[in-house]
Amino acid sequence: MITVLGLFTLTFLVIAALATVQSRNLFVASMWFCIFSLMMAANFLILDAADVALTEAAVGAGVSTVLFMGALSLTAEHEHVRERSGWLPALVLGLLFAVLFAASFEQPRLGDPLAPVHQHVAPFYLSETPRLIDIPNVVTAILASFRGYDTLGEVLVVFTAGIGVLSVLSFSPKKNQQLSGEGVAERVRGVQHHAILRVAGKLIIPLLMLFALVVQFHGEYSPGGGFSAGALFAAAVMLYGILEGADRSAKAMPQDWMLRLAALGAMLYIGVGIVCMMLGGNFLDYSVLSSKPVAGQQLGILLVEFGVGLTVSTVLIMIFNAIANRSTY
């Protein structure tokens, strides 16, 4: 039964991908991309990767669609099609497809316990997590402790991306261009004329924030962690911005404070690592943080995940505010 469901989501994934590429209307394309992400999240869930599914649903289907919409309001709605012969990309794609197709025969069966990916370090993680860290969610243990370096890199990438978007959007808009049309001209703030949407949205926002906090601080026991929690929290702020106008969301979450908090989140992560070094351990070796190594590991994971969540949420809020508050590109 689960195989049928997997086949359905994978087939629909291909259909959504083709539709995304094919649609010339960019609004339609971003909607298809949202469906693609949702199918991807369902597929991750079928593969028992609940943490990744949660993050994919929050970031791919939720936040990035909002950001696409915001970017679309600054540009034209239709893709500018350039006619030219595409034999070289077709050749490259054909070759790539052939190579991947040939390689797929060498792949181990899905879920095969003897596959190399399950024999390399996975047994170590599974057997040592209860002894070394003692938290039920092994994914969080791997993400924050065993592979702490990788996650630090990811946090810094997110932070750098936020800085990059801000610097791209920091130039002042062109005065004579009014591409966003009637909406900007009328100076409509959010969807204030929709009473139903505002009432319903305002009821959802606190629940969303609460759920983000649950995902953040319950990540050691259930699927979740800093990345998905940050995206969920940012989604709540984005919902506020959509309902009440982006100027109000930027007022509630000022850009300069978001920038400072994003830097603070990354610094918290690095700082925990440096404190570990000062206490005589290795960088990001949390065992020295407490008198008991297991308690130290748990404390370190909690702090590091909080840093991740802080950076991710503030960077996403920052990007949303920067895009949504521009009247033209």
Partner: protein, 113 residues
């Protein structure tokens, strides 16, 4: 199967029926508003019946509480989303197709009464 499971199965089958009806309606209805009317059957009756069936199967567990929370969330957001889409379509100038208009250009053929 116990009686409870039979009742749960009945709920699930009925829910599946309403989802199917919603899907058929999406394809068969003549214009956007009637299609949305068909689609909203999925998110109200379909959700309600399927979630109730699942809650009956799960029994008095934490999963039931979570399913109930999801049910409330879906029942709360689904109609609001439908309203938003329909309202936006109306503002964007898409007129509902009336009986005297005849079949829409490009739309599926509708048998006239």
């Amino acid at each position: 199967m116990s009686l409870l499971e039979w009742v749960a199965a009945l709920f699930l089958v009925c829910g599946g029926f309403f989802v199917l009806v919603g899907g058929v309606g999406m394809l068969r209805m003549p214009d956007l508003y009637t299609r949305m009317h068909a689609a909203s059957v999925t998110e109200t009756m379909g959700t309600l019946l399927i979630m109730t069936g699942l809650i009956l199967i799960a029994g008095w567990t934490l999963a039931s509480v979570k399913l109930f929370a999801i049910l409330l969330f879906l029942l709360f957001t689904g109609p609001v989303a439908s309203y938003a889409v329909a309202n936006t379509a109306l503002i964007a100038g898409i007129k509902p197709q009336l009986a005297e208009d005849g079949p829409q250009i490009g739309g599926p053929e509708v048998p006239r009464p």
